[in-house]
Point group: D2
Chain length 286, copies 4
């Protein structure tokens, strides 16, 4: 359910509608747009008594949302969401017509490694630096990441070069630390349906980069983002990184067609990570 406010509705009017929604035991999600604000309602089991809401000052109409995803939908917000990520080097803009680039090593290994890569990345003009301190590894015997000391190395890179830092959290404990040290919290493909982690990310104060699961459909991908928004964090960017298919000549098959498909249905920005989809070795080179 969405409550659509008039173009010139005041903040008090929006607040009053939200309070009425909350008083019904529901959750209100005000989504400000360029022209008007819409208020998403979640938590309703069945129909909401519209009369209660439509008669409030500033309300144009209440419309039901038939798609399974609500807050991420273009119905809730017609124009593109544009995220502004504060970094030591100034705000980085992701979404709309802005081109955002992210680069860095797969894993944070040493301070020297990270600083050396950071120097080159800086020269290329990229403003967001990525590197994993917590690595979800297929084998328990593979290097699992440096943990908090890896985050501290990323902090030094951040201070020295002014980057915004993007790094992955793999559980609630690591998310606490990533939220503290980094500028963007990454949720990896293997955790795209770790709903407990998504909810925790939805309560974080930092933007979230959500990677598509290895075999996630478009709907499942958008629903995973919906988990984050439904907890109150609207600063979400999606990321396509290749899907699992029968093809054996590359690690994954990059599904570029999901980009326009997402843009059609959702206001969220979407990035593309070509490293796994461009061959077997590419993922190590980024």
């Amino acid at each position: 359910m969405l409550v659509v406010m008039q173009a010139h509705a005041t903040e008090e009017q929006v607040r009053a509608v939200c309070q009425r929604i909350e008083s019904l035991g529901l959750k209100a999600h005000p989504i400000p747009g360029a022209i008007r604000t819409a208020i998403g309602i979640t938590g309703n089991k069945g129909a909401v008594d519209l009369g209660l809401l439509e008669s409030l000052p500033g309300v144009i109409e209440c419309i039901p949302v038939s798609k399974p995803y609500k807050l991420v939908s273009r119905d809730a917000k017609e124009e593109d969401s544009v995220l502004r990520i504060p970094t030591p080097g100034g705000d980085v803009i992701v979404g709309g017509n802005h081109v955002a680039l992210v680069a860095g090593p797969c894993a944070v290994e040493t301070e020297e490694q990270c600083l050396a890569i950071a120097q080159r990345v800086k020269k290329s003009g990229v403003k967001l630096f990525r590197g994993g301190a917590y690595k979800p590894r297929t084998s328990p015997y593979s290097f699992q990441g440096l943990g908090e000391s890896g985050l501290k190395i990323l902090s030094k890179v951040r201070e020295k070069y002014g980057f915004g830092i993007v790094t992955e959290a793999i559980d609630n404990e690591s998310l606490d630390l990533v939220e503290e040290y980094a500028d963007v919290i990454q949720i990896g493909a293997r955790n795209m349906q770790n709903f407990s982690l998504l909810k925790r990310a939805g309560r974080a104060k930092k933007p979230v980069l959500l990677k598509r699961g290895m075999s996630a459909t478009l709907d499942e991908f958008l629903m995973a983002a919906e988990y984050i928004l439904s907890e109150g964090n609207y600063k979400v960017m999606l990321c396509e990184r290749g899907v699992r298919t029968f093809a054996d000549h590359s690690r994954n098959t990059l599904d570029l067609a999901i980009v326009p498909a997402v843009k059609k249905r959702s206001h969220l920005p979407i990035l593309v990570d070509p490293s796994r989809g461009s061959g077997w070795g590419g993922w190590a080179a980024r």
Copy 2:
């Protein structure tokens, strides 16, 4: 690396080898077999000095394990692992030539629902009852399970009918509770590569039922089990439940061929959950 003990090696000899392994800063995993015990070594970055181990009393030989999975492998244990699950109705045996059946509702909804289903399940001779108190749902707006009150309902079913209870944990918090209330901890398909949860399950005292991820390869499936064993919990049973394919006439495609493929490579038992692979509606009926 595996240390193979003589058929008549004593417990003290096994213990002495384990102590020597631990003194090298490594982890020892004694795996008792019908004929002899093998001791898996994990935690080694490179080669282990074999001389130190091969000269100990009771040791036949040290053999390197080339496969990515070690403890779950037939190399580590030649004969089938047979799990003995203590339940109020007596021990339930899973593995080897024993036929184990699990039945119950998708989600625990009410005490009445569970008791009614339990009565019928009991009549059919099934000894393990399943039902979700924590449900990983694609949508944040779907019923997420009753949580601990669901576990309490399952406890009543357990007491009344003597079942062993199998129920899913979705994060560390729910795993603590599932471990307390249930007899088998289920890790669902969406969490098959939630490595943080797998490690926690590896430290649990109860057996674990690990479901195959939606697009997990055989190696990834066995490696996920390896995570649990590597933390010390050897009571793991696997479960095939269908994989994601292009086929659109059923929710998932049941991959029965993985059963002999697992049996060839691993000593762990494997169950089959046909509910999703047999149609679109089947999953609701189990």
Copy 3:
């Protein structure tokens, strides 16, 4: 479009309806059922003038068929199609509740090989013998089959043991010969959408065994069968043989769930060929 005849409609009435249909420039497909005959109409670009048909003696009603497949559909024939295949050893029945088994070598290599295998197959009670004289091979340098001399070997097996012979045709030329020598014409997975070959099979006088393509959906599979029926050959049996998925532990993934899905939508019999779906080597062993 289907014309449903009364239970006691006479053969002349059916014939008259067919003639009227043909006089409209359309094709009539009388499909006799246990209780009544339905007459499928194909060739119509748009709506057919029903009045012309519904008023004819013996007609109950004309019903439009909304599914893309018509003649293979349960709408056209409610009860299972049961094929009766004349063989030197008596009629073999395929479909309904009859269990039909097919066995034999992958390729016909020599007379000795075929006779030796046939002797064992005979003992097992199987009545349909298969073996390829024309082999569709991934490599142009692999053995392509013995061609007509292979068919002659199959003829000897047929005479000696009384089998019905099932063998693959790969183009119009081989289909001419297969139709002459064999009892069932097999269309392989790679040719499931070789529509030119399907049409030729539809004009054949022998029953057709149509294998599912490597990545064919249920609808595509039924539509391929529809090609054969639409040319006038209603003696079609389908065969599931595994589909292409990401799974790398077996050559293909056997999709058993398509069996009930086909049975729900179509009256045609469906067989299962487990050889490729049960491992990498299984296909050679059948």
Copy 4:
């Protein structure tokens, strides 16, 4: 097996080697390169007596080819194959660093339709015009193409605008006509493993555009091309057009990573057809 000739080997020397090969009952495939000619040998069941060949004038060495594909391999020809297609508007070059564009309607429907589209295509600078006169359709009730009258319409487009014509053949009969009327013979995805048709295309005098099958692996794709080359037609261009995956937001998933994978292994040019991989409707718009 490949016979590598000296850089300055004469035509007579190449011819003599070919004759010697043929006299052994094998097939010789001289493959001229920028620097030297290699001669592929096919038809050998086992090892060839190299002494017979290595001692001939102009021969450097004989090397075995371990890959399943031989003539399409970079081993047989190190540099890119560049095809020169004669058209009324001059030669069109496909391969190497040349950018080749193909455009036109899905199906040839009327002369007016084709001429109208051709006018626009001409303006865009595209030199190869495509349009189907023979359409492989999932349903027998869909428009199957105009056949030879469609080819005649394409001929008029060819004469009027100077295009090279690319059009699909679906069986031996249509291939005879396509070879007569068109400049490039297209083999569609559904026929990529119609080996009988591939062999016929290998005996054609016109270049062949071979589309990747819906679920063809890289090796299967190259082997399908090998069929054509092994019959003597070396003018083959490949075409990626999207593969079948679980993704349901587009008709197929375009697998761009196959382009560098093909370029690494084969000297053949490869085109990309984005129409099916870019959405559900895109295919109709090209």
